[in-house]
Structures are given as structure tokens and as C-alpha cells.
């Protein structure tokens, strides 16, 4: 999608979101839409490192939770406004990404992935032991009653998350089309060759890890006000790990559209499903779908569509002079 088209679509999406808040009053939809939008951010963030660069992050909960807990600390400490929470969450999570990358990106990709797993476990242990944020029991927060310009705070959070989703997708879109994106793709395709062709692989990988971390932290920062009760088990939920991975894999990992499609489809399906089946069963289904896609349709929905479109083009070419 070219620059102008993308901008138009982005503005239209935000405008539509704002219009909806004027019209729709049923709070449930805003709660649900928030979750789906949150997954758009997480899936897009994951894909920058996973799909574009080829490094698999199993520890999304670590970055998400760090964003959330940074917000909690700021709320408790200085009653900080949401804006500050977002910025702080982004910075802290970004630093975590940078540190993790610096320690592990010189090693084989698989060790990076294992490190992300361990990171999630270690961070969870840390927060379980930290009394200031409630320890294992958790802490409850009071959500502000109203927000400027919007009726309910939840509607406000919905719009914030919508903005974050647009930001995340725009970031991915820009990276994908730029020379950075090409360098990341070279790293993904063949890191050794990329390095020998002049690509500063470590630096680029660090950029990807940091950007990914920043976006995940941004997704986590509004979470405390959304749920009003933050405790380690729910913030470090396996949900986030598997979904942020499954959504890009199902949607398609090579382009920004993949995570969006995956997040909207899978996220909406899960929101509908939670009222009918248990969350554990829901997770099981996600796992099964993920494995099915990895085996049968690794290029995701986007790839399938592209494959269907291509033969038609070749057919017309062959029938020419």
C-alpha cells in the first residue's frame, strides 16, 4: 500500500472509531474491541522481530507485563496520567528489549528464543516477590470515572488503544518498506550472507528487538486501568504468549497486513468464544490452529491469497503473444 493510501485508511479508521463512541453506548463492545486492538498491537510488534527478522520471541508476556507494571508503579507513586504511563511503559519495555538483545542476539537464534521464555518466567518471579505492586495477591486500582471528551473512561481507553494500533501498524508498514526492512529480511533469509554484504546485523537486530519491546510495552501500559485489578498470573497469562505468535503466523508474517488480519480474526473469534467455552479450551483451539497453519499454510492467510492470485496472472501471460 502506498503512502497516501495508507494515510487515508489510517485516518478513516480512527475517525470511524471516534464516530462509534458517539453512537454506541453498550460498554461491553468497548471492552471487547479494546482486547482485539490490543492484540493488533502485540501481533504487529511480535512480527517485526519474528516475521521480518526471523527471531522468535516466546516471552511477549514479559514485555506486556513490564508495560503494565510500570503503569501500576506510576499510578501508585505519583498518580501519573495515562500519557505518562504510556511513555514510561514504552521506554522501560524498550530497554528490556535492548538489554535482552544485547545479551543474546550474538548467539544462535534458538538461544534467543529460549532466553525469551526464561525471561518471562524470571520476570514473573520478580513481580510475585515485589510487595509494592501487590506481590502474588495483586493490587487493585481505581479507574477514573470519566475522561475528557468521552463519556466513559472505557470508551477513552478504546480510542487510546485504537490510536496505539494505528501507530504500531504504521511503524511496521514504514519499516517494511524502508531499507531497514530490506536489511531485516536479508537477516531473516540468510544472516551470514547479509553480514558479508555489509548489513550490520547486530545493530539491526537490536533495533528490531527494541522497537518490538516498545510497542509491547505500549500495549501493556493502559492495561491496569482497563482491568482495575492487576496480579501476576493474569498479566503474565499464556494467552499473550501464544496469541502474539499465532496471530501473525495465521495472518501471514511477511507483511504488516498479516498480524492485523490474524489479530482481528482470531481476537474476535476468541471474544465470541469466551462466552461459550472455557478459556483453557479456547487456548487449546488456538494451539491446534497454530500447529495446523505452521504445517500446512506457513505463509498464512496473506500468503494463501497471494498464491491464489498468482496463477491467474501467469495464465494471462502465457496466453499472450
Amino acid at each position: 500500500m502506498r503512502g497516501h493510501a495508507f494515510l487515508v485508511v489510517a485516518v478513516a479508521v480512527v475517525a470511524a472509531g471516534l464516530a462509534v463512541t458517539r453512537v454506541l453506548d453498550n460498554q461491553y463492545y468497548y471492552f471487547a474491541a479494546y482486547v482485539v486492538l490490543q492484540y493488533v498491537v502485540l501481533a504487529t510488534a511480535w512480527n517485526i522481530l519474528g516475521g521480518y527478522t526471523g527471531y522468535v520471541n516466546f516471552g511477549t508476556p514479559a514485555f506486556f507485563a513490564l508495560g503494565a507494571y510500570t503503569a501500576v508503579v506510576l499510578i501508585r507513586w505519583v498518580k501519573a496520567p495515562l500519557g505518562l504511563q504510556l511513555v514510561a511503559g514504552a521506554i522501560i519495555a524498550g530497554l528490556l528489549g535492548l538489554a535482552l538483545g544485547y545479551l543474546t542476539l550474538r548467539l544462535r537464534g534458538v538461544f534467543f528464543s529460549i532466553a525469551t521464555l526464561a525471561l518471562a518466567v524470571v520476570l514473573q518471579t520478580m513481580f510475585i516477590n515485589w510487595e509494592y505492586t501487590g506481590g502474588a495477591r495483586g493490587t487493585s486500582l481505581v479507574r477514573p470515572a470519566t475522561a475528557p471528551l468521552f463519556g466513559s473512561y472505557v470508551q477513552f481507553l478504546f480510542v487510546v488503544m485504537l490510536g496505539l494500533a494505528v501507530l504500531a501498524v504504521a511503524t511496521a508498514w514504514w519499516i517494511e518498506r524502508s531499507w531497514i526492512g530490506r536489511g531485516l529480511a536479508a537477516i531473516r533469509d540468510n544472516e551470514e550472507a547479509a553480514e558479508c554484504m555489509g548489513v550490520p546485523t547486530l545493530k539491526l537486530k537490536l533495533v528490531a528487538t527494541t522497537v518490538s519491546g516498545v510497542l509491547m510495552g505500549l500495549a501493556g501500559a493502559p492495561f491496569p486501568y482497563y482491568v482495575t485489578f492487576v496480579e501476576p498470573t493474569s498479566v503474565f497469562d499464556l494467552n499473550y504468549a501464544v496469541n502474539s505468535l499465532a496471530m501473525p503466523m495465521i495472518g501471514g508474517t511477511t507483511t504488516w497486513m498479516g498480524p492485523v488480519i490474524g489479530a482481528v480474526l482470531l481476537g474476535t473469534a476468541q471474544q465470541i468464544a469466551t462466552v461459550t467455552i472455557s478459556s483453557a479450551l479456547n487456548l487449546l483451539l488456538v494451539g491446534l490452529i497454530l500447529v495446523a497453519f505452521v504445517i500446512l499454510a506457513p505463509e498464512g492467510i496473506v500468503g494463501l491469497v497471494q498464491r491464489l492470485a498468482r496463477p491467474r496472472a501467469e495464465r494471462t501471460r502465457r496466453s499472450g503473444p
Binding site: 531499507w179 536489511g183 547479509a194 553480514e195
Partner: protein
Amino acid sequence: MRSVTKRFGGFQALSAVSLRVRQGERFGLIGPNGSGKTTLINCISGTLRTDGGQITFDGHDITTLPPYRRTRLGIARSFQIPKPFVSMTVLENLLIPIEYARQGHHDGVVDEALGILGLMGLAAKAQASSGALTQIEMRKLELARAMAARPKLLVSDEAMAGLSSNEVDDILAILFELNQRGITIIMIEHIMRAVMRFSERIAVLDAGEKIAEGVPDVILADKRVEKAYLGE
């Protein structure tokens, strides 16, 4: 005056190998399988860290530089087993070195890439997926990619292995042409007639040691070289 000096000590795969290559020279490197040729190339390109010794290039000590810095200084290599960027077209494969090795984000990149492809005879395949090429096309792409980095030194690692006689001549012609343009070339090959025809000087490795160095005729007559290849 461009010279490359390498001394490695105590490295299992290479023992105190020293080489000096002159600017603009055509240098051949031969040796039986497992003698350490590719290891040496990996040390030159920076993929491997040396355990001892020093590498200087064009007056710079590059012993501890990471590979991408060496490429930016002017060293390029092709890989024995081609490593194309499979998710990209042939053309896009060349954009990587153009944009990164010389940091040119200018507007002529596509034309320049097409020019190089034309030189290699790959212009028709510019939009093809780089994963779907024939053997010789892949080898040419390897060389094209190395070329796109506008190197001063090009190391060609067995670019002709497994090719037909005509294809070998094809690649050889390209390498001669590149050398005419002023690029120093180190060629690693098993195909003797190619190495003998191409090189001004040759070094021979065996089990990690340099056992001979000199002009092709001398090497051909050297008994130690014969023994290394044929055994007792």
C-alpha cells in the same frame, strides 16, 4: 599499495598461514578437501575470528573488525554453496549490498543493479524469485551480489564447482572482466585448468598449512603439491 597479510598461529584448522596479495592481482588458492581453504576465506571475510595472527587490508588492520565493516572497506566474497536471499527477487538481492555496503540510498540504485545483472547475463531474470534459479544462475548471482558492493578485493569460493565446461568458461570470463576493472581477485577452485589459466600466482594449502606458493608452472611441477593431492 594494497596488501593482505595473514598470519594465524595455533588455530586448529589453520597453522600460521601467511599470504600477501598485491593490488589488482589474480591470486589462486588451491588444496585438497579439508585443507582449510574455506576457513581461510571465513577469516578474511570476518565470519570467523582468528586465534592468532593479523590481517591487514589496504593499510588497515582488520583483524578484529566484524564482517560488515570489512565489506564496507572493500572486501566481498561469494559463497561456495550459494546463499541467496530467497524471499527477494534477483534484483532485490543486489539492492542489499548497494544500500548497505556503500550506504547509498540514492535514486540510481535500481539502474545500477540492472547494470550489474546485465554484465552477468542475468538481466532477464531480474524480477524472478532468487530461490528459483538454476545452478549457474545462482553462482552468477553470488558474483553479482559481491560485485554490487563495489569491492576492491573479491574472494570467489569455488564458484565453478559442479558446472559444465561451457559454464566454467562463462564464469572465468566474468572474473577476468572484473579483474580488468581493477578488482583484486582471490580464486579458490578445484578445477585446475581454470586456476592455472586465471592465476598470476598460486598458494597451496594442505591440512591447514601453506605448503607452496608461486607462479602456476612452478606449482604444477612441485612434488609436495602432487603428493598432497594424490597421496603417497
